[in-house]
Amino acid sequence: MERPKITIDGNEAAAYVAYHNSEVIAIYPITPSSGMGELSDAWAASGMKNIWGTIPSVSELQSEGGAVGAVHGALQSGSLTTTFTASQGLLLMIPNMFKIAGELTPTVFHVSARSIAASALSIFGDHSDVMATRQTGFALLAASSIQEIMDMAAIAHRATLDSRVPFIHFFDGFRSSHEVSKIEQLTPEDLKAMIDYDKIIELRKSALTPDNPFIRGTAQNPDVYFQGRETVNKFYDACPGKVQQSMDKLAEITGRQYHLFDYFGAPDAKRIIIMMGSGAEAALETVEYLTERMEEKIGLIKVRLFRPFSMESLINAIPESVEKIAVLDRTKEPGALGEPLYLDVVTAITEKFLEGGSKFKTLPRIVGGRYGLSSKEFTPAMVKAIYDNLKLDAPKNHFTVGINDDVTFTSLNYDPAFQIEDDSVFRGMFFGLGADGTVGANKNSIKIIGEETENYAQGYFVYDSKKSGSTTISHLRFGKKPIHSTYLIQSAKFIGCHQFNLLEKFDVLEKITKGGTFLLNSPYSKDEVWDKLPKKVQQQIIEKDLKFYVIDGYTVAHDTGMGARVNTIMQTCFFAISGILPKEEAIEQIKKAIKKTYGSKGEEIVKQNFRAVDQTLENLHQIKIPVSATSAIEIPPIVSPNAPEYVREVLGKLMEGKGDDVPVSGMPIDGTFPSGTTQWEKRNIALEVPVWDESICIQCGKCALVCPHASIRIKAYDKKYLENAPATFKYMKAKGKEFSEDMVYTIQVAVEDCTGCGLCFEVCPVKNKQEVRLKALNMAPQLPLRETERANFDFFLNLPEYDRKEVNVTTVKGSQFLQPLFEFSGACTGCGETPYVKLVSQLFGDRMIVANATGCSSIYGGNLPTTPWTINRDGRGPAWSNSLFEDNAEFGLGMRLSIDKQNDFAKELLAVLAPKVGESLADAVLKAEQKTETGIHDQRERVAELKKKLEQIKTEESKQLLAVADYLVKKSVWIMGGDGWAYDIGYGGLDHVIASGKNVNILVLDTEVYSNTGGQMSKSTGMGAVAKFAAAGKPMGKKDLGMMAMNYGNVYVAKIAMGANDVQTIKAILEAEAYEGPSLIIAYSHCIAHGINMQKGLDSQKLAVESAYWPLYRYNPENVKEGKNPLKLDSKPASIKLEDYIYKETRYKMLTKSHPENAKKLLALAQEEVLAKWKYYEQLAALDYSKDTKDNEEKVN
């Protein structure tokens, strides 16, 4: 039977099988598994049926802990149920997995295996998560390629029903979950043929039902619990056999035969590797190469079923001739004798050997090693190094490979020059920007080549860690044979550079082969381009004898209405040059792909792309290569030579894309990194930047307030400091009675850090009277300004900071004189969250400590290489940490408890030491008022004096007090995160923390979706909004978190939207911080996931408030003491209809296009809800809180 050949990624392969085999699917987003849930939700929304003809019920839960609870319930109630997860998510499922397995409940969890956060979070792939579930009783089945994912998923779904043992089917996060590859698709009929329906009937029969009542899940005592645990043994004993039967069944259907342990290599091998996951593909490729070409006696065991571990099957799979074995684990267990697979293999082989009857004459030498943590590359060179290690008489044990461990010397040396890429395989690398559509076009190319030709195809995509101006590198392989190269391209026959300026940022041609082809998108003509290339690039082109093509894709894109998206144009060039398909056919296929990709979005976008294809070829030119490099253009250093050594030597390597070269000694032992490092990463990503027109500026400060990247700075200073100002440095007289005659004022733009979002231009309230399109800040091309403004910004930074004691922080103008201690983050261009974060850092940064929930804010706040959290001239600044996604409120509370304890202890010690340090100083310190900047400043002075005195007192107490004396100065604890954390996964903790009464400040950056993982629905999502996991529109309204918090009565609560009322925003933040108890601030944060023009993000905020969807308020429990109503509404009743707000945003509007009837219904309900809620708020705000009347007092008494 001819089955469809499709090119899909690993997540889709797994989700396809899971969906077809399930009735209930419980999901929760976590990278890199989110795609599986997203597809399931989208399929269900479009009415796709499972193999029994019904649409699975797909539900999002509040956490993975919630998802697995729902899975457990659905299974107990007799439905075929699945879920998808990874990493921390899988860890949250563990408690319930014991239950599910303990009750012998068939299910399959599909896991895109990912690192676990230790000293740092990583979204990338290894087996740390699945290895943490070994003890749960789940079977663990590994897939190492995209085809295997589809096959193993089907095997798992059958085997779980046959064996009653629940399964984790896992594959490597990113390398497999996100690799696009051509595979043979199992048809729904195939999947149906895999399943014995009688087994499903058995599941139904064992389900909880009042028609056949029983209880399950009892509590047991010492008398029987143990025996109960032993009842399952026979099922685990039988499980491997059932899995093999499932594998055999699949072979019967498809011809692809798998075994629990598959051996590849020389039948008489002496040295073998045992491993599982995607790395085994690279090992397989290497084994084939070394056995065929070098006749090495080596082999490879691919482990399929890791749990239950079948000793017999493993030993049967290993050739008798084997003398040495390297067992590779993609995980790390500090303190263990070895990693899990190693230990199991050692136990299996040794146990069998000691029992007698082993096939081995002598016990093979077994060593273990770690590789590939967090998707670290695992290449043939590394595989060879492992086999070479086994050649040694005493092979290194407990080794690592792929890194340079210069501390404990575990690493094996390998020769990166050892490359085995098959010459018959086409290998292309494409450098682009996220915004130019390069990856999308490459995915289309893979589909074309994979599905329209005989070729096998593989695509893997490497993304930036920044969310703005991010670069992408696509790795594409095509060939006549299946592709096993599960590593990045090491030598490329074709390199496309889709953005000219990337030539200065990357060594684009480093990996091109001699005689390869280089395609460049150039804003310069074919005659000019050569002279515009950096010298190094010219040299590489000449030395490597490259064929060099250029196209001015920018102009073609502009002329055909494609804007910045050069994707289709560059794709057309690629096909035209590479000759993978005849030109005519290629064009036809590209157009077919365009129709498929864009067809649902209307004819015009299709036509626009067609026009781009048609105009491309006439603009594509091959350049004749001169004999010598003549360019004077040098590639600038990535990091300024003025940067601190650690930034230059270590972080700089990461910035250059050479982080793999950092040795173990270059890394901190406990995850600690210096603050203030984004300032050294001048990214120059803005095409246009704001230029200040001081002649009309009114010094309101709004531009600096809203700047998401702290690229607009304001200072007021004495004009005497202007003496050495650069010629183009701008200033004006400082306006306002607080300034003396000599004070001047400057707004300075950090043009190299600006992302060009334009929010400052939008918010500027001033218009030029002669030309109303101009404001006090106007956008202008960055390049001509770069040099002068760099000098101006440097000069500006050296001007004195405005005295914090003198600033009126309650005003926008005043607050913006404060130095931002959060700057130049990697957040999206025009981000709606970071202005709030930055404002908090300005107001309290020099004494704040931040607990940051995992999400966008933890990524732009703490994703290497650099951090935007910075320090002031006194060396103070925010101390920041990210614990987990789910525990952030508790994490912050812990900080508060710790700070308070140390403050208490310091006070106790000071009381004891008062006679020695001086009673008056001690008294002043202990009774200090620290409610104002002056109060804080004075206390710091006192503490400094105290510390000096303590240094002179050599007692135990003084030593102890010295260590905690700084805690005598007030500290501000901030708990920050998004709505996914606050409304969903972290809500239980948040609720507990606000109920604790402790003095913490919680800032919820509410984007109404899980932004960081790609826009999944949260309980904050508005009714009728389309989000992932809510493809048919969210049917329920937004959870009113503020109202829930207000119910406690002791929580300060504010709802703010900077774009609607900036003064209220500042007031709320100041009041929240001043409140000596828990505070909750819910901040409207416009987001790229809303589908809006980010430059108009502040307008969205305004409309949300004007429609009363987002009422602004402050609820201050302090007011009650004064007999006042604690709730103050800061916005007005709706002045516009809800639709006038929501239909400006794609997240809502798209529902009117995809599910028009549902959109209508939900709009009506949502409008009703908004008005009702406003009415409720109004009534609450009008309640009488005056002190009890005499009558009431009498009643009380």
């Binding site: 939700d41 209307g602 296009k1153 599910h1155």
Partner: protein, 332 residues
């Protein structure tokens, strides 16, 4: 009494036709218009911008920021199908056709000949009985001579006529140097009707924000005079049907339009201001007036006060202006 009229070859039960407006956006209000006595309905316009840009816009916002960052390779689920403006419009026409018995006139609004005119065919296929082509062009380009603009109108109508079999009316702006000549050209190009005139919404200035703002002002009764004049002048000079639009607020206005030579009087502002029931007021008012004034049919009055049939044809030309001035002087 015979209130019927013939417009674009369609026999209508009376000359009161609601013009393109939000009232045609849902089936229920179109049914209400029919119940109130409207003889046909011009459906709200499908705009060239909608056809050309909506598809690009939805693609832009759905893909914006995608494939840039490993954790979020996209931000939205992508449905298999979108009902974009044009598709929605065609569905709506089809739905209206199923729901009411009166003729449904589709409306295309654009500024130039281009791909969008292909939608005329789609509108016909959706079941529209006729099509109104609203060529909304502001001659702001100083390099474009008037002859080219006129030619653009002619070519557009020709292009549309070549694609459809249903009758096509053109809604015109009053800003032609030689209106009669232009009307004749369009007549010659195959236009089945002229709709006079398009009321361009004139932008206003917001002095607080120093912004140019769109400003929707509903028509007033006096605005009828412009179409009235031109219908009276054109009557008998062209084959095409004529509709008056702008300033029709009462049955008396309908009568004036008929007497000038119009075939239908299109009404919009009055309905937006005072409700759909005004249609029945107009129809009954028309009937009563005709009874009181002993008119037997609309045909009888049609064109009775056109330029050709009045005692003083010059009244529609410059003399009328002079007369107005003279009467104005009486008051000062």
């Amino acid at each position: 009494m015979d209130l019927t009229t013939n417009y674009l070859g369609l026999k209508l039960k009376n000359p009161v036709v609601p013009s393109a407006s939000p009232l045609s956006q849902n089936v229920d209000s179109v049914k209400a218009l029919e119940d109130a006595g409207a003889s046909a309905v011009v459906v709200y316009s499908l705009f060239e911008e909608q056809i050309n840009h909506e598809s690009g816009e939805i693609d832009h916002y759905l893909s914006y920021g995608s494939e840039s960052y490993a954790e979020a390779t996209s931000y939205f689920p992508e449905p298999d199908e979108f009902k974009l403006g044009p598709v929605e419009y065609l569905d709506h026409i089809a739905k209206l056709k199923k729901s009411v018995n009166i003729p449904i006139i589709g409306s295309l609004n654009g500024v130039s000949a281009g791909g969008w005119v292909n939608y005329a065919k789609n509108i016909e296929q959706a079941g529209a009985d006729a099509l109104e082509l609203n060529i909304y062009y502001i001659a702001a380009n100083g390099n474009l001579p008037s002859s080219e603009i006129e030619n653009m109108y002619v070519e557009t109508i020709k292009a549309v006529k070549s694609k459809v079999k249903i009758p096509v009316a053109v809604k015109l702006s009053p800003f032609f140097t030689s209106m009669t000549n232009m009307a004749k050209k369009l007549d010659g190009a195959g236009a089945d009707g002229l709709v006079l005139f398009n009321r361009f919404y004139q932008p206003d200035f917001d002095l607080n924000k120093l912004e140019v703002v769109p400003n929707l002002v509903l028509s007033t009764n006096w605005e009828l005079r412009l179409p009235l004049r031109w219908i009276a002048i054109l009557y008998g000079n062209i084959k095409a049907s004529m509709a008056a639009t702008s300033g029709v607020h009462s049955h008396l206005d309908v009568i004036k339009v008929m007497m000038a030579g119009g075939d239908v009087a299109m009404v919009c502002s009055e309905l937006l201001k005072h409700g759909i029931s005004r249609v029945s007021d107009m129809v009954s008012g028309l009937q009563i007036w005709m009874e009181e004034n002993e008119y037997e049919s609309i045909t009888q009055m049609k064109g009775s006060m056109s330029q050709r049939r009045v005692a003083e044809p010059a009244a529609f030309e410059r003399a009328n202006y002079m007369k107005a001035l003279q009467s104005y002087k009486l008051f000062i």
